[in-house]
Amino acid sequence: MARKIVSTGRGGAGKSTFVALMSRYLKPPSLLIDLDPDLSLADMLGIDFHKERKRTIVEALYDAVNERKSGGSPLTPVEDRFKGMIWGDCVYEGKGFDLMTLGTKDLEGCYCYPDHLLRKTISELAKNYVNVVIDSPAGLEHLNRNIVSEVDDLFVILDPSDKSLHHIKKVKAILKEVGMMYGHFYIVANYLFDEEAENYFKDVGETYLGKIEYDKGVEQYNLKGESLHKLPEDSPAYLSVRKILEKARVI
């Protein structure tokens, strides 16, 4: 069974950057799942999903619904049609990792249904991988939907504000109420931390793994939409992420 890793945190903290950098060190094959409707993990990995003729979960779901309306046997439920599409259409195969993304929905209503479909398929997909890494959207709502009920490693990326402390408390309360189990709960500081902030968060009673160092390269690559995998391995961001992953015994 694959090791399940979740990266979460407040908006703009650096969740996707962490996942993108982490993916370089993971033992292949690994599956990365971008749960953010404001998708950006693919951008950070330099992948143009549509150019690759891949579809997001939301797009595949639309297709499954339309196909059912327009023809074929009405006896085949949307869910089964969707499952038939997922491998061929939604999984991008990269070097050392595969990638799936939730996508943006432009119909009224929430993301419960696409998330539900993912929840149902994730455990089957996971059988084929050593690691499954989930990049969460900002906000807490996705946690309430309990997409993966058993997580091995949960990383919360922090920005240096009092709000991050509240965020940790809220995350824990939600996990407890929705019954999500986790092996390890880790906190990681983002590049904006200074010493004062680091000391503050070292004492909050959670396992603090260190800080993702500021890296000019990350900023430049993100701005230009280039893959973070092209960043040299001895750059500050990579070195610090490596250290964090070693501490968490992910590598």
């Binding site: 903290a13 953010d36 409707p37 119909l107 929430c110 906000g139 807490l140 709502e141 503050y200």
Partner: protein
């Protein structure tokens, strides 16, 4: 009916900071602020302690109603009860300059459709009492799909200097069009990371102190905070949307947020205050004198 203003943007760009300073410097006869972010802390930035005031968030009120309903074996009408709670002031916090209503965090499984539906109902019920309503959105796009405010007067998007922000603009429009949210004005606002470090409006000493860890890491020039300011600002101007300017970097905002202190205490002539006033003037708002 009040003027409806929605502030949105990617996570961590500074939506709530903007809303707080917006509320502080704008000058309507009556003002309602709504925090739609489950992970939100607008109250704190406004210097309001909702617990202390004995006020409930919409999510808390719902949990309370549902718990009570179980005791009474379902003899209740949730929207009705919630309406009564809004009226009684259990949900609405009243301050000198503004009233405040928050969505709050939900701990039960499932999405925020019901709390969002309830807050939509509550807004409809009280909006006529206000000349202006400012909504602080959560990060991400999902809340847009739920159409809490279908008819917006001014939609502000707060941006950080990255390609993702540019794509974010397109996605907002895509969702808004799909779910039929209308807006009269679409405004872009640059966040503090657009401020060049050598800019004269920055208290240089404070920056050096606060960013010491970055400076030790070899960050010497403006690119820490900006990443190609001119290039990106030029890009924003090219999008064809109305770009109102940027919220200047202000070490005091950072300090206040780290400590959880009210942004109403930041001096009026500090870079953040001055720039937000400028942005509001640019958008045609009347300000406190």
């Amino acid at each position: 009916m009040g003027k409806i203003i929605v502030v949105t943007g990617r996570g961590g760009t500074g939506k709530s900071t903007f809303v707080t300073l917006f509320a502080r410097f704008v000058n309507p006869k009556s003002l309602l602020l709504i925090d739609l972010d489950p992970d939100g802390s607008l109250a704190k930035m406004l210097g309001v302690d909702l617990d202390k005031e004995g006020k409930l968030t919409i999510s808390d009120a719902l949990s309370k109603i549902i718990a009570k309903g179980k005791e009474n074996k379902g003899k209740q009408d949730t929207p009705d009860l919630l309406r009564r709670m809004t009226k009684d002031g259990e949900i609405l916090h009243r301050d000198k300059k503004f009233d405040l209503m928050t969505l709050g965090t939900k701990f039960a499984p499932g999405c925020y459709c019901l709390p969002d539906e309830m807050i939509k109902d509550a807004i409809a019920q009280i909006e006529k009492n206000y000349e202006m309503i400012i909504v602080d959105s959560p990060a991400g796009l999902e809340h847009l799909n739920r159409k809490v405010t279908p008819d917006i007067d001014d939609l502000f998007v707060v941006l950080d200097p990255s390609e993702k922000s540019a794509k974010h603009i397109d996605r907002i429009k895509f969702v808004a069009k799909g779910v039929k949210i209308t807006y009269r004005n679409f405004y872009l606002v640059g966040n503090y990371r657009f401020t060049p470090l050598e800019s004269p409006v920055i208290y240089r000493g404070d920056v050096d102190r606060k960013c010491s860890s970055l400076i030790e890491a070899g960050v010497k020039d403006s690119s820490f905070l900006t990443g190609f300011t001119d290039e990106i600002e030029a890009y924003l101007l090219r999008t064809g949307e109305r770009y109102l300017g940027r919220i200047e970097y202000d070490p005091r905002v950072r300090e206040h947020n780290l400590k959880g202190e009210s942004l109403f205490k930041i001096p009026e002539d500090s870079p953040s205050s001055m720039s937000v006033k400028k942005i509001l003037r640019e958008a045609g708002y009347g300000l406190v004198s």
